[in-house]
Symmetry: D2
Subunit: 370 residues, 4 copies
């Protein structure tokens, strides 16, 4: 309670409020005080904590401008300076035909979780659904028709099984100047941002994705579920291919690739652990896929890449490599367990991102057809 | 302004508020006073107005219980008393293979409009999108990562290009008693309704829909765009098939059918007219499709069926025939113009409804593959 | 993951979904399986559990119609059959003048908590706030103006410090029949309910509440904070008055009364315990206040009444006594600690409910002026 | 419809989407193409259009950095470099007592409109309310309790009758650099902005406002309702005071002032005209009030200041003068008609902004007590 006593006693609530923000966020993620930067990012604590509170946190506070040598401009894209669709340029009709040729039985593997309020979400994102009325309307007419609607509020392109669009991730080259914040193909925050939807790189630009998909069974490689912070290396990927009898050149330009790490078994069962971090791709393995010109990388984790990164100064560097620098989509919170259980290593992958104008990502119901 | 003067002068705002509700709704749809019932249903005025304000309105006010003879119970379903997926039972792996065989070139026709706040919506439904922050988070880490999210609020399963789930439409048999409000397979409002998501018939039960689709080009039949309130008859459908050189048995059990009426040309161009009513299926034509055991009927209109219905006492009877009585989905606000322009009459239709637990419908990005 | 194998292998997700709902809700409140009914109510477990899972749960499942003898109709109200403002009829200009006479120093005690996403909420209610853009708009004009908005989604009349309106609570007399669900003054669910706002008893009918307020310091009476499930009795209230040197007739018709139980010290510190239950009024103490013709009862708890009720078959009976039967408002999640600390027993209470048409409650910033 | 034909036929939807954004916004406000900048600001067209599409639009496009001479820093504030409450520093207990002394009869004048989805809002702001379920929960317990909640989504601090907080308006000194965007007391966008609530100058810092209020009846001065774009001058304010027999020094430091322009008669009756522009304060009249050290300026318009400004190069300069430079609140969309009708020129004004952490403004139920 704030007492307003006399002039000198009017308590300014600023300090209280500011303190409350920190408390709130720490409480949210169960983070220690030192990891505020991680909490701001809406993400789990990284190796920074293990390293004694330096690393990401210190780096974030300092926000050092990367040197020009370190960060070369990644634009214009190989598809031209106006391109907004990135790697999905490779999803051509011919590619679609290649994918459909993989379907022999018509069996469907669902790769999406249910969207529900109990699912794990990161940071302060949310998902709520309400049914207005019961029923929403009616009875009306001699036929006494009644009907239901649903009202949803939340970060629908960034919760649950979701595809990251090319407008999701960028890099700040010069502090808080929006003209120096860059995304795919060099588009700047100043050009893109709008309170009512991104003006560039919105999810509505993404093509329907129907293309061959390949599963990399890391659980099979390791003989166990992967652990938090466990990096997937090029050697791991190569081992998976050998184990699965995949030809060295099995992954073609325009294909999609998926990881089975076992981390997804925590989904809606132990959400607290699930969001704390994850096993996933390190930068070298990501580059290995980039060289193969994949269109999309998905996993049974919330971020596809290893978190925390082995280099504790880095925050989600693989996201930048894939989305910002190479226009390659990331598909998160997939269910890849049944594919692995059935040894389905290659399939026709179908994901149809919603045409939500200006959105940063999309929910969807990705499937594998065999 | 409400003055609070002395005891007798305290103005109760009830009258004002009640009046305001009516004003609000009438204003919303540009409806005359007599069509309140239509506005309550969140839908355009029906023939009731043409009939002098009786019809739907009067019927709705009286809410006559249909006689037992008139409305025979439609349950249990042919797929058993517990079935929640209706006609999508017919979308089997074999059916999926049939559909894929129709793909020769890999060309994609998009059948979805963009989701945007300017799109026409019915009644008081809404769709809003905001980008929190600019960017939403960062810069963080030595790599200065930044990111965007989006926050969406609205009836996302019932606005824009959307699939009606089996929990969307029902019939009230006994006024306001929820135990006597019935949906597909006889599920009652009392069993189904929950403020946080339908407990039965939620959209998460719907299978991925990959099946042969057939377009009926009514614009071709008429030689012009169809008009508001213009009923599509069995004869029209047969004429379309002849004109398109479709075999009489072209539509097989498990297939989907689509209408091209030309009404969709008003989308986001003349929203006021678009939502006022529409051309569409009458009850006989709907039953003709039901006999063919289709899985889904779609159109370039907001309701697929003719509105107002020629029988002005009825409110959306075709919705009841399809969804409640036969478990057949309705796909609304589709874009079918380009298919018609290219004379694409049969194709592989793919629609992957989102697995939103307890939702009444789903957005999506339906496509036609040829 | 759901596999779609062959016809017989298409897994219907109904069972999974239904099970998921239960899991979700149990997880939400940390409730045992037996207390599903409590969870449905979005509220903490009651004595039902202690009593072996009967009580509320069993009662709710059976939904026995109260006998006519047990539940006499409470309508029409003493203010006439059309009245929608209940006890605030007593907040007359004369009453307002009485309240202002209590102000001697102009000191303000704030009785509201901050509204923030970290605050404890019940069941599946929520509160989210986003700032669209950064800034939301601009720079514009030669003066480079920029601006911020905020976007809020949630049950804003039923989270945080909030006033229950007369449309919030009722009683079902005959199962699921909306014509037999009654609220204040006998208004029925069928008359009131509308998906877009209550048609009767909306919060917009409530008068500004400026009236004498009295604090009952139960912590002072007990010599300690009250415990979960601890009932406040008439004897407790009388003891508080004696201890605070309040005259036996200190509480006049039209006044407000408030409880200090100490339970509020858990606010945003131990939310899990805070929402599990609470100390509060039993039915006899509530009736004692009703006889005094108070306008509003508030407390530093989320429900003002004792939860679980000593009679484990009852769910929130005091809410029904106050709101539905007597038109007396309930003000929840107040901060009454500083008033008690300063021994401020009587004050000018000001609460100005928002005129949100059709809302069930209101946020606000209640204050005590002395 | 977007056709995906062969590689060269894949239509990139970027151009379509970008064009769509413009169309959307123009449609929203009925604006001509030249006034995009106005539409982006979510506000009505200004004199820029009358001036041939230059003015605001051209200025906004050029975004010239104001010269140092023209725009002197307005910080630190007279209440110190850390102050976040601005002019409400003047609302002391003594001031509150002064205000209460004005109350003679206890009569309440309500100054708030109803919050409802039909009310006029600016740009793309919104307000929606849904009642989840019917009822939301229950029946539960032997007492068969039932209850209703409401779910609200929208810019609740910036729609309807609303108070602008000090975090609402600022000025960009150097294009898109957030370190050079300044608000009250010099706080920068970089310091303040957060996707989940302002970190500085949130509405939770504002004190309860109980202070003498003075109405300026411009309709009385003019003998008619004021017109769109009609500036209120110092001479007008002085004429109002003379006409109302107010002493020249009637407005004291810490008081609030209100305008009655007649524009509010359009509220919810002709929303399209209401939001197109408005009569209101010019810069000189605003400075006249600033010199008098008022705490808040309100009006029966959506922006208090004249729109468009007579200097067509300026966008909302009075907002900057009041909020950013002087920490004086603005109260918009008030109902001041009944006060004027009863010649109530001075009164006790009570406005209790909600303690929403990080919000930019607040709804409320302001009242005038006499």
């Amino acid at each position: 309670m704030r007492n307003h006593n006399d002039d000198s006693n009017f308590v300014d609530t600023a300090a209280e409020a500011a303190e409350g923000i920190d408390d709130d966020r720490r409480a949210l993620m169960g983070l220690a005080a030192g990891s505020l930067a991680c909490a701001l990012f809406g993400l789990p604590p990284t190796a920074a904590q293990a390293a004694g509170g330096i690393g990401v946190v210190g780096a974030a506070q300092a926000q050092p401008a990367p040197s020009a040598a370190a960060i070369a401009p990644w634009w214009p894209s190989k598809w031209g300076k106006d391109d907004q669709i990135g790697a999905t340029n490779l999803v051509t009709p011919a590619k679609i035909l290649d994918a459909l040729k993989l379907v022999k039985t018509g069996k469907v593997y669902e790769m999406s979780h249910l969207y529900e309020s109990s699912m794990p979400v990161f940071g302060q994102r949310g998902f709520t659904l309400r049914i207005p009325g019961a029923p929403t309307g009616g009875p009306l007419g001699a036929n006494n028709v009644i009907y239901h609607d649903e009202f949803v509020a939340g970060e629908i392109g960034q919760v649950g099984t979701q595809l990251d669009g090319l407008g999701h991730i960028g890099m700040a080259f010069k502090g808080e100047d929006k003209n120096e914040m860059r995304f795919y193909n060099g588009f700047t925050e100043a050009e893109m941002s709008d309170a009512y939807g991104l003006k560039k790189l919105g999810i509505e630009h993404v093509r329907p994705i129907i293309t061959p998909g390949h599963l990399f069974d890391l659980v099979g490689v390791r003989g166990r579920d992967l652990n938090l912070g466990e990096e997937i290396t090029i050697a791991d990927l190569e081992a998976a291919m050998r184990r699965q009898n995949m030809a060295p050149d099995a992954v073609k330009p325009g294909d999609c690739v998926f990881l089975y790490t076992g981390w997804g078994s925590l989904w809606n069962k132990d959400n607290a652990t699930f969001v704390k971090g994850e096993p996933g791709l390190g930068i070298p393995a990501a580059k290995w896929f980039i060289e193969k010109q994949v269109v999309l990388i998905g996993a049974d984790t919330w971020g596809v890449e290893v978190v925390p990164n082995p280099d504790s100064s880095l925050a989600f560097p693989v996201h930048q490599e894939l989305l910002a620098k190479n226009g390659i989509h990331i598909h998160e919170n997939l269910d890849t367990a049944a594919l692995a259980a059935d040894s389905v290593w290659t399939f026709c992958y179908i994901m149809l991102p919603l045409l939500i104008k200006g959105a940063t990502g999309s929910p969807g119901r990705p499937i594998a057809l065999v």
